[in-house]
Symmetry: C2
Subunit: 165 residues, 2 copies
DNA sequence: TATTGTTATACTCTATAACTATA
DNA sequence: TATAGTTATAGAGTATAACAATA
């Protein structure tokens, strides 16, 4: 069993939730989990501020990402995947359609449903978005030394696995 | 110079912005940066849904975190640190005060300013919050094998450094 | 009768503009 | 005259409730 033991208290006495200092070595599993959570949350905040297209809300971007991942989907499926209520998805999809980023077509088998598909314009936008955010992250990574970067490189696929579990 | 070379295109042909498959080895810097970004964003979303106290908005939680990190601060300082406008911080601080999580005191030197300090109740809340999210993350980590966990453990402090750069 | 999606409406969070009080 | 904080008001974004069309 490799479940980290969290019954022990963190070796750090600081009560601060997200401020394990950068120099703190992850000497215990608790420290490691703490550092992981804090690092992930802070990095994600900075990544989110890296908005590519100011005219697109985070929710719209997220739907485009989901469509790119899953191909087409009905509004209901999208609402479930994005964890928003159906009326909210109606609005998001309508906005995306008005911007020419998705197409709405009738469902071939069930006339109650609709099929939402991303346009080529959306694909180009997403590619540009990904490029910009990667460049930003890469510039940060460039400020690490060789060993640190190697460590991150090795950890990247594990992080992804963790996110998918 | 150890700046990752992003002039090359990713070896993956998938146009999907956040769906590098978990099994993809980070063979190039581009892949690594991609996997890192995608993993960080997804993990952070899941972490954020782990809300401890439904009565506290993310902004309120974030202010409490900042206060824990920096000790006391004026509303203006908090607004700058949280990247919100002063009127928004007025409201957030008022809400936190009404919930007994912060105290507002007059500034000792400048009577225009106020000093916001977290209460003991807030410290207890943050400790509980951190405990819950760590437990959740640790349970995920428990589903990794020894090598993967060791990799993450090593990467945790580097992630934090990256977030602070 | 159940389900998909929409419309109507209200709530939460944040921002801008205008105001008060101190410096 | 400039700055810290507040009040008043408006704009996103989301939710719930009620409704229409279809299964």
């Amino acid at each position: 069993m490799n479940m980290p033991d969290l019954s022990r208290t963190s070796s750090s006495e600081v009560p601060d939730p997200e401020a394990t200092s950068p120099e703190t070595a992850a000497t215990t599993d608790t420290d490691a989990v703490n550092a992981l959570r804090s690092g992930v949350m802070r990095l994600s905040r900075r990544l989110k501020h890296q908005r590519v297209d100011e005219s697109l809300s985070p929710a719209e971007m997220s739907v485009l990402g989901t469509l790119a991942r899953c191909g087409s989907a009905t509004p209901g499926e999208l609402a479930r995947k994005e964890h928003v209520q159906p009326p909210s998805m109606t609005r998001i999809v309508a906005l995306l359609e008005s911007k020419g980023l998705v197409r709405l077509e009738p469902h071939p088998e069930d006339r109650r449903q609709k099929v939402v598909t991303q346009t080529e314009q959306a694909e180009a936008m997403l590619e540009e978005s990904r490029r910009k955010r990667n460049a930003w992250l890469a510039e940060l990574a460039g400020q690490l030394d060789e060993d640190e970067w190697a460590t991150l490189r090795a950890a990247a696929p594990v992080l992804e696995k963790l996110a998918h579990l």
